[in-house]
């Protein structure tokens, strides 16, 4: 089973890297870009788990390891069974 997990700073945390990317895009003339938030992508291949098991496991590992819940939030999607 292939899963994609996105980790990004919470809205309450400043993201200086995203700000820098936004400024660069503005410099290039892309004035329509209002905001940029930078995050991390994890593509994870699971083996021998059912969909309900995966739905329990993914938030567990995201909360425990992949994201730091003090500063980051996560979202995920199952790409293929």
């Amino acid at each position: 089973m292939k899963v994609r997990i996105l980790v990004a700073f919470k809205d309450s945390v400043l993201d200086p890297q995203g700000q820098t990317v936004k400024n660069a895009l503005h410099t290039l003339g892309y004035g329509v870009i209002r905001d940029v938030r930078q995050g991390k992508v994890f593509e994870i291949d699971l083996v021998g788990v059912t969909r309900p098991e995966a739905e329990k496991l993914i938030p567990e590992i995201s909360d425990k390891v992949l994201a730091n819940p003090i500063i980051e939030k996560f979202s995920w999607q199952i790409l293929e069974d």
Partner: protein, 228 residues
Amino acid sequence: MKFGVVVFPGSNCDFDAFHVLKDVVKQPTVWLWHKDHDLKGVDAVVLPGGFSYGDYLRSGAIARFSPLMQEVREFAEKGGLVLGICNGFQVLLELGLLPGAMVRNKHLKFLCQHVTIRVENDRTRFSHKARRGQVLRIPIAHFDGNYFAPPETLAEIERNGQVVFRYCDADGRLTDEANVNGSLHAIAGLMNAGGNVMGMMPHPERASEQLLGSADGRLVFESLLARF
């Protein structure tokens, strides 16, 4: 007093810390390997600076799962003394022994320079040889030293007097320029509510001998040696 210096793959200030403890402060000091399960009967644990596990995922995020850190957690929870320097501070935050988290420095630069920090609380096991308001000159070397905590956590640590050091200018004033990495409340050193665990981003082990330009950092190690 017996000290243990933890070694992770990627630690690079471990020898400096070991040298200061053994040769400058003159205490029995042993190495603690991250894969071991034994703290060798030490009275205090020092988590040194460096880039444990290459800072992969987040600074300190992988190191916290090492077998030895589970021992350090138990040791700390029983009141054992733990000092985390730079990456060691980041590990303590990831481990949850200290509140908050580190994010990238405000100007997205790796900062390697001397800074001045002000002693905010001199009634701690890490600072009682200094006096409140004293300005110490100690170097920093980090990319992720921008301290963050949610407002309710910040209020709590301020109320408890857990902030031990703040970035300041040479005269002890808190200014935006002096807060080089952008830390909330200019926090440079922070202890737990129990007062037995402290993390600091500046490197006291790099400023413990006059030969190196400053011996102010020695106060941190000397404070550890005695109760107050």
